[in-house]
């Protein structure tokens, strides 16, 4: 939609494509990352009965600016024995992986990078691209902590992709689509049409589906949490064991890239969960724009609801961070292979049977 308007306005598809490709970065990721850095510090402070940053601006709202300035002024250290090409590519690759996911995330009904028919699969596939970057960074750093962190990260992300996919498959069975825009439109109008409450179809099946949808939601939430290396699944970064994990040797803007990628990933998976289970950009109570007959208000409302849903799940990720201690490596694998995957499989089977009914 935006692409069509722009290309007819500019008369050039390439320039329009580039502008559309940059929009999520400047409209969503950077403002979100700046807000999330502050929110993370404030949430963690309040949860620990502290105050958090409060010296820069009103209640510390300018703290992210100070952080960004600090990161930009820092020396870009490249240790002498690193594998330089790989070392320099790794942060870019990690960021590319998490940024590429934003291409298919439907922010509103008109603002979406591309209406991919395979959107759901694409996001999951491209976000596992991050593993390559992390492994590359850990390997090329020539540092034992980086390498251990990278290996753990690879093992973790690859393991936790399986339950994520299994839950996504249950959604595909019900809705029959992987196009995220279609999936969002499928759950339109009111909140009881959301997938977490059994989808828009009426009848006994809808109510039978609800418990299995909740199980699916819990599984996908846990496994995506593990995929973005957040606490309690932060063993690749485990600062008390591995210094800083795979990004031990990185400094300055390269570290900032990893940091940005982590926050972008957090939002990407939260947006994915919001889209799949909580109606995406759809409002839970109908639209003011429809009520008052103002057409252009609807996309803004959709953007609002999408941000609220996405940011809520980001907040829950921060909440969990200050609630749970880090898992051991074997516990991590136990959670994935002994609990999440069997539950996801059984869930898939039952949902499949219910849909056939």
């Amino acid at each position: 939609m935006i692409f069509d308007t722009l290309s007819s306005f500019l008369g050039n598809e390439i320039i329009a494509g580039i502008i559309v490709a940059c929009l999520p970065l400047f409209l969503v990721i950077l403002p979100y990352a700046i807000a999330a850095v502050l929110a993370e510090r404030k949430v963690s402070a309040y949860m620990q009965d502290r105050i958090g940053p409060n010296r820069t601006g009103f209640h510390g709202v300018l703290q992210p600016v100070a952080d960004v300035v600090k990161l930009m002024l820092k020396e870009d250290i490249v240790a002498s024995n690193v594998d330089k090409p790989l070392f320099n590519i790794a942060p870019l690759l990690v960021f590319t992986g998490s940024y590429a996911a934003f291409a298919a995330i439907p922010f509103t009904s008109i603002f979406i990078g591309t209406k991919l028919d395979l959107g759901l699969i694409y996001i999951l596939a491209v976000s596992s691209f991050v593993v390559a970057g992390i492994l590359m960074g850990g390997w090329s750093s020539n540092n034992k902590y980086s390498l251990i962190g990278a290996m753990r990260s690879a093992a973790q992300i690859i393991s936790y992709e399986i339950p994520t996919f299994l839950v996504v498959v249950t959604i595909i069975i019900i809705t029959g689509t992987t196009n995220l825009t279609v999936l969002s439109d499928y759950q339109t109008s009111y909140f009881w049409n959301w997938m977490i409450l059994g989808g828009p179809s009426l009848g006994v099946v809808k109510f039978l589906l609800i418990p299995f949808m909740i199980v699916g939601f819990v599984i996908i939430y846990i496994s995506t949490l593990a995929e973005v290396n957040r606490v309690p699944f932060d063993i690749p970064e485990a600062e008390s064991e591995l210094v800083a994990g795979f990004h031990t040797e990185y400094s300055g803007m390269k570290f900032a890239m990893f940091f940005l990628a982590e926050y972008a990933n957090m939002f990407a998976v939260s947006a994915l969960i919001a889209t799949v289970f909580f109606g995406g950009y759809q409002s839970p109570f109908g639209y003011l724009g429809n009520l008052m007959g103002i057409k252009w208000l609807i996309p803004l409302e959709q953007l609002f609801w999408f941000s609220v849903k996405g940011l809520f799940f980001v907040f829950v990720q921060m909440w969990l961070r200050w609630t749970l201690p880090r898992l051991r490596v074997d516990q991590l694998m136990t959670v994935c292979w002994k609990y999440l995957i069997p539950f996801a499989f059984v869930n898939l089977l039952i949902v499949g049977l219910l849909v056939v009914l």
Binding site: Y46, I51, T323, Y339
Partner: protein, 198 residues
């Protein structure tokens, strides 16, 4: 099999319990005391920086001798006849000019041992604890109220008086012979005086 489901349930349930606790803390008022603006109330008899009230100091040097880390340095000059140094607040007559009363707070361990022997209670602990400096020399506090010129004057006065006394003594020694038996008497009596003290 039953245990497996119980484990699953208990893990989810305990996570929810933990989340409830952290969520409560989100709204608990913070316990942070914002130090430079807000200060912790110190205990009543907090021992921090020393203060010396020089109006009361008689220069007896007892605090310097009590100090376990020798951070107090006191120099005194005797006053000459005719100089009135005034009285301390508890009625003791001052006879010494305290020309130097330096306390090195880099060494001071805030043990309060110097406070107890003071006969006029002029040295005391204050609750001031913010006195950090960039140079170690700046931590040597000089409490003496006399200016260097005054110190030089007092020293000169004293030396002059001493010289006069010596001259008078020499003159006295030259005229009559002093009694020789008077000298050994204090040497014998001294240990007797010390015994009850120890």
């Amino acid at each position: 099999m039953k245990q497996y489901f119980l484990d699953t349930w208990s893990s989810i349930w305990t996570v929810l319990v933990g989340m409830k606790i952290t969520f409560k803390h989100l709204f608990t008022p913070s316990v942070t005391i914002q130090y430079p603006e807000v200060k912790v109330e110190l205990p009543e008899r907090a021992r921090h920086r020393l203060y010396v009230n020089m109006d009361d100091c008689i220069g007896c040097d007892q605090c310097a001798r009590a100090c376990p880390v020798s951070c107090i340095t006191i120099d005194t000059v005797k006053s000459v006849a005719g100089e009135d140094l005034g009285k301390t607040s508890n009625g003791k007559k001052k006879v010494l000019w305290v020309t130097k009363f330096d306390i090195d707070f880099a060494k001071c361990c805030c043990c309060q041992l110097c406070v107890f022997p003071c006969p006029t209670e002029c040295i005391k602990m204050t609750p001031v604890y913010e006195f950090s400096e960039y140079e170690r020399e700046n931590l040597i506090y000089s409490f003496s109220t006399l200016t260097p010129a005054e110190v030089a004057e007092k020293k000169k006065n004293f030396e002059k008086a001493e010289a006069e006394k010596a001259a008078a003594k020499a003159a006295a020694a030259a005229a009559p012979k002093p009694a020789p038996a008077a000298k050994p008497a204090p040497a014998v009596s001294k240990p007797k005086e010390e015994n009850p003290n120890t």
